[in-house]
Subunit: 405 residues, 2 copies
């Protein structure tokens, strides 16, 4: 019998009626002849409410205790869903992340899964039970509770699927698949039937937050096919899997955007690499994620270095960099009003005109570009936040990605 | 340095301000030179709200899943209290029941502590940290979460104190000690300075629900002194400890009452012991607690057997007994409108006139008595519920227990 992992997010479990609907869907999957493992997030806005409670008690709660608190959110979800499934006459058991063998490192609030010990899950499946595992949480080797950060339940689902050798990992969400651009910005955006892991990774990292990038990474490493589909219908969604070279669509697959960006420029730093090391090591130590690092190389002994962080982490980043600077004389400049627009496509590297075509699209709309960064399968441009929607539409149109084509 | 265990109930932690107040109290105890372990319940009405959520999803939720759900209540408390204590600059760590080494049997929703493995708590104390342990919950040997039933946090606190060899276990509550009768019924009831374990056990079992009886049992076995005191003042409360024979007060210590009783009578059962065995074995199997078992011995081949159960368990008890009766011909009669009034005192057994004096007091008030049962340190009478307050006052007066004496 094939094992299927199904992941349901917080909005799919927001109230009693929705919990019951998820329970029926799970039982239907069992009746279709599958062994089912379910991974769930905390209900609705629970996580945000818990964070609020924490901040009412302490301005700066210890991260270990924050994890202790947040982990209760998924524990409530797994228990309620187990009760709902039991009430339908299906044998079921719920497991916390720790009980489910989700072992992580010790970086509280942003832990990474190191290992999934699937023994308990397998034992319970063998008894003919549906197994519900709390997403987003795990346990360190010293028995402490950790959480994986926003969207971590996706990663739990994929990691569990990998550990069990599941035939698929279904991610149920409030959209019905992955689109060629955000349908709220581009009404004629096209639903993609399949997306390569690499493309999805870029899409995810670039703001199309249907899936946590780490989840896609793990899926790619273990070859777990992910099926992104709607909680509210039975239609097929988008398959994320390894797409063979010959199948790859030519050039651009989609346009992604991310308005949760802030730009930091270090002006006049010595080209000596010690500053770079110092700044980025300090940021890493504080867990600040950095993106789009660009340094324009010049012949002078100083240079300007630009990179982006998320808006929430801007203050932390500025404090950390200020400390790292110490007595040195270079300047720190930042701009909160930026957004990132990217085109993504696995076939892009063989098509050198793609970047030029993107710049053409932006130029036609007079959208200024502050920073450009490229990888084998994407080109990203940092633009003024006030213009990013036009930029997305212009690119989507230029690359003829709409469903009409 | 002496270890002190402090237990705070749900009403002491009901909101942010109260959590902060508890945090300050704990830090003060540390500053007085103690190593402190704190045991807490779920905040305010959390447990009731969680049970409501469960019943919204399933009419009859599996007990294992109910425990999974309920355990989140204390987990929220320990995390918030840890944050509040940390914000005061005191090092602190929170532990779930499982992490705190609270090992139980597998009887979900009513589990009993089998063992406290104090290793983790000791390790954290040795680092100079306050250790906060979730009350009411534990873990089975198969790594499943259990809860101990209502009031279970008291038992956790005493068991932890016993395992650590703590110098005292302080139970903070909304009353300032143990009284000679319920002060709401008897305004001039006297606060007792000290109570013997045995007396407290009878008082607790008989409705003075300041402490869970199981907690008193464990304290008696391990000789842990319990200090019952107010969350809202620094006054000393009541010490519960082994009171030496010579110190024992003559005769009656207090009057206890319990209106959560229902009476069941099996009419005309054969005196053959098989019925007794059958009925009580079936009730035990369903976890129904039975009290005040009385069978009037007669020379006839049939007899009437009377006993009490809690009102919540009456329906279950009647169903169980009905099944156990099968095709036999005896009758089942029940009465929900009863209450139990008891006098308790360690010196009672050496004072044979005590029961007579109690009956005299009840007789003077014309309170009928349905059932009498006695032990070495208590006499209990089952009376009409509508009359039990008068009965308590009459006994309290007859034995001259008021603070004026």
């Amino acid at each position: 019998m094939a094992i299927i992992v199904q992941k349901f997010g917080g909005s799919s479990l927001a109230d009693t009626a929705k919990v019951m609907a998820v329970a029926r869907r799970v039982v239907r999957t069992v009746q279709e002849g599958h062994e089912v493992v379910v991974v769930v997030s905390a209900q609705g806005k629970t996580t945000d409410e818990l964070i609020e409670q924490a901040h009412a008690v302490s301005p700066n709660p210890p991260k270990r205790e924050l994890d202790m608190l947040l982990a209760t959110g998924e524990q409530v979800s797994i228990a309620l869903l187990a009760m709902a499934i039991d009430a339908l006459g299906q044998r079921v058991i719920s497991l916390t992340g720790a009980q489910g063998g989700i072992m992580t490192d010790t970086q509280h609030t942003k832990a990474r899964i190191r290992l999934v010990d699937g023994m308990r899950i397998r034992t319970e499946l063998a008894k003919g039970q549906v197994v519900i595992v709390a997403g987003f949480q795990g346990m360190t080797s010293t028995n402490d509770i950790t959480t994986l950060g926003r969207g971590g339940s996706d990663t739990t689902a994929v990691a569990v699927a990998a550990a069990l050798g599941a035939s698929a990992c279904e991610i149920f969400t409030d959209v019905d698949g992955v689109y060629s651009a955000d349908p709220r910005l581009v009404p004629d955006a096209r639903k993609l039937e399949q997306v390569d892991y690499g493309e999805m990774l870029e899409l995810a990292s670039l703001g199309a937050m249907i899936l946590q990038p780490r989840a896609v990474e793990v899926a790619a490493i273990y070859g777990v096919p992910i099926h992104v589909r709607s909680s509210f219908s039975n239609d097929l969604g988008t398959m994320i899997r390894e797409v063979k070279e010959v199948e790859k669509e030519i050039s651009v697959t989609g346009v992604a955007s991310d308005e949760n960006c802030a730009k930091i420029t270090l002006v006049g730093i010595p080209t000596d690499v010690s500053v770079l090391y110092n700044v980025f090591a300090s940021l890493a130590l504080e867990g600040v994620n950095v993106d789009m690092i660009v340094q324009a190389g010049t012949a002078t002994p100083t240079a300007d270095l630009t990179f982006t962080v998320t808006r929430e982490e801007l203050d932390t980043a500025l404090t950390v960099i200020g400390k790292a600077r110490g007595e040195q004389t270079w300047d720190i400049v930042c701009d909160e009003n930026v957004a990132k627009v990217s085109i993504v496509g696995a076939g892009m590297m063989t098509n050198p005109g793609v970047a030029a075509k993107m710049f053409e699209a932006l130029n036609e709309e007079n959208v200024p570009v502050f920073v450009v960064s490229t990888s084998e399968i994407k080109v990203s441009c940092l633009v003024p936040r006030s213009r990013y929607q036009e930029a997305v539409r212009a690119c989507h149109k230029k690359f003829e990605l709409s469903s009409a084509n």
